[in-house]
Amino acid sequence: MNSPNNTDSLHPLEIHVLRALGKDPKPLSDLQLATHTELAPSQVSMAVGWLLTKQLVSLSTESTTTYVSLTTVGTQYHQPDSSPLEWIIQTVKNADPEGSPPTVKDLQATGKFQPSELSRAIGILKKEGVLQMGAGGILEITSKDSDIVRDLRNLINQVHEATHPLDSFTSDHQALLRQYAVKRGNTQEPFRIDDHTERTYVLTAEGRNLLPHLREGAAQETSQLTPELLKDGSWRNVSFRKYSINLRPPRLAVGRRHSYREFLDTVKYKLTSMGFQEMRGELIETEFWDMDALFMPQFHPARAIHDVYFVKNPKMAKNIPEPFLSQVAQVHRDGGTSGSKGWKYEYDSERAKRLVLRSQGTAVSARTLAQNPPIPGKFFSIARCFRYDNVDATHATDFFQVEGIVLGSDINFRTLLGLLQLFATEMAQAKEIRFFPAYFPFTEPSVELHVRHPKLGWMELGGAGLFRSEVTIPLGVTVPVIAWGLGLDRMAMVALGIQDIRDLFTSDLEAVRNMRRQF
């Protein structure tokens, strides 16, 4: 690779600064460099910054000096009798001797200063004995002259001419300057005191070596090809400065898909390419479709208040469509025509109407089964689901479930395993897989799919099973149905470099912009 410090790639500003440092054996400050090169201070500081990065220039000394300067308020006070102190004295002095003596209220009424500023100034003058306040807020000037007013006037005049280092003043004046300098919470002050760091620079050995090779007439170099240069052909007569192509480029704010959503996009495209049709459902479901239709008995522990979010208003749906309500009620009671004994309890048709936030994507499948789906048929949904749970690094308040169904007369336990095997290769590029017995209230037999992911090692990829007849028959489906669900969030999190599941939906724009899929 070429050395980045090729003289051709130096910016004209850099060349000016290098030359100035080369001429003077002493270290030079930013200010001196600006004088020597006749460049603007901002141009000098830009060039010095680049040269420091390239290690052609190094810092020689660094010293911090505290300076006093005037604020905009101070510049205003420079006008005679325009500070609150001077103005009060003048106003009271010049009051019409025939009229009633001026009061605090009168001064406030002029609106020249904020009431708080006025009362502070009056306080200072009273304390010094220059001003007296009588009954009804009547103000009178004593014969005493104000030292503070005099000193402040001198200081304002002095600082107005030029910025001075703080330590060039007497310690009394330093205290006064500090007292009347802007601070957090009080910006109406005449002085500003700030630290200024002065740095001086020298050439490094490499910088010095470059001196003899610096281009002549650098000022005539062009950095940007322009339409004008092209139009009149004058580009032929200029030389183009060569760039340091290894400097980091400026940042861009661009339009981009959200990385997690992009991950889910690939899942949905994969599923459609495998012949699955997308289903959509509602965020708010009845207990009927969310649980009853899936043969989860109304006394099932997972249905307790601690797992599901209930809707506040209205609490109940208006109705549950027939014949599904009766058929599902029957299968819960005694199995109906499903060949099952049922759960043997009094099914509560009112409770079926209770509204919940969809707690499982399988609710969407249940609705599809009830809509006379085509057979054979393959369906999927990527459904937002909600669980009543404490939100932490592994539990989000709402999350996506990728799940679906396969209907067909050829469906059985082995085709179920075949489908899962396909998921393993298509979704997780896994060659090794294992099946474990599992339990879901709505499938029998039930399987858990474990796969060996090339990046994550052994992981649980999903759960599946054959829908129980108690689910399919009441919804009008007579062929066997596979119900499957994939747990892809862990894969997404590893691919996106995320440890906390909440970060999948982060509101931090920097994190959103930086997120990217690593596999």
Binding site: G342, P376, N412, P437
Partner: protein, 564 residues
Amino acid sequence: MPTISIFQKDFCRLVGRNASMSDIEQWMPYVKGEVKDVSQDTGEVRVELQDTNRPDLWCVEGIARQIRSVLNKGMPPYSFFSDKKGAKRRIQVAQGMETVRPYVAACVSLGYAMTAEGLDQCIQTQEKLADAYGRKRETVSIGLYRYSSISFPVTYGLVKPDEIRFTPLGFEEKMTPHEILTVHPKGLEYGSILAECDRLPLLWDSDGQVLSFPPIINSRELGEVQQGDTDLFVEVTGTDLSMVVLALNIFACNLADRGATIESVNITYPYETEFGTTVKTPLSMNQSQRISLEAIEQALGMPLGSEAIQRALASYGYLVKATRQTVSVTLPAFRNDFMHVMDVAEDVAITRGYDSFSPIMPQSFTVGSLSVEEQTSDRVRDLLVGFGFQEIFSNIMASHQELVDRMRIAETEYAQLVEVDNLMSQTYACLRPSILPCLLRVEALSPRVFYPHLLFEVGETAQLDLEANAGSRTTLSIAAISANSGANFSEIHSYLDLLMYYMVWPYELEPVTHPSFLEGRVGRIRCNGHSVGYIGEFHPEVLEAWQIDMPTSGFEFEIRKPEA
């Protein structure tokens, strides 16, 4: 899904063979268990059991029993279920129990000196069964007693809350049931089960000694079983007779597996039950079922043949009887989970091992497709990304403060929300009716992030709609904001205009007033005569409420399904 502790040594003794940790892991599929944690020092294994319909597996004895049966290719039935002799001991159920806690089952366990380990496991089983299976003691609760101190018959009857005094477990002094409900920790925890009873259930013996106040607490005198006790009395009370009997059966089998001799107890009821007025417990409730071999073979996708299916089921613990035409099976008495022939099919598959079934690809041809909504979303997302917008992906639950107060729409027609009844936290109290608050949240949290900020999200929102069957509708919305020092109406309007052009969605803007936006710089978006959303510059009060220092404008509208 209960998680229990078992100990390797105890487990091996119960299985009847030495087993390494990896053996234990390998056998877990037989019980749908998963090893969660292993402590090499103590030999403690934490096992999670998946099957909510198999409470017999929620204890070390049950896990070992199931695995033992598979390894030994079958198990002999427990003889006490078929004991033809009459029971020597009796519990008399009193009139009135039918409305309070109607059922009881009991047995006696003799000759097994309780070890420390056995006692711990007994207590764990008692708790898991009563808690997860018995719904926190409401439907099932279990009591263990020192048998030798009890004079039979025992009465299961009702008392007035302050009629009787006994010393409950965990206390030194005698208390009435009423005092127990108001003072004793267990009374406070489970008292609600008896909330509507003016008379309370009690078990006492023929000498008038109190055994327990079910389902709350045992008496200290009779009901404090200790290590070394050889003879136990076990009772289960509850509201569902088959669940009560099953829990007792499980307990009886567990004690028998540890070496006890189980003797039955007769329960006599003054009212009818599904098993009659005199019920001898433990009781096998399972009838033999004729099963269709064809149904099993079809479900499993394999012509296993009658022999193989019978062998598998016998191995798994079923009692199998075959004639030339039919096969009948009976579940062992510690199980009561048969509902459908598929339940039997799964047991065949588990016994043979899921890995022994070779997968077949489903052959049917189907056409894959995305919904119209998703296709539309994708096109809109592509366009907005091309316009330079960063996509945002937010949670749908948000706070009332974010959705309403900060949007300056409190007490207006716009503040219509779907709210949850059982709040976990105020942060997640409502479903978003609009996506814009989610985008403003991003802006509020990202003032130091490189500008400009052009953000969008396409996603679901929930609209309160009392006319709809569920009182609400799920809608699909598009929202975008621009936050930068020059953000204004015409900038965001340009983006909207371009989006509508490419989507071929003719639209109009109607000047309106909307509290979230600056007066005179807001419009209602109308498509095909429908009002679908808003566009405007956010009101400075909205930005102040979000603590956003950057001028921000935005739009949001609903994608309506094409009218049929």
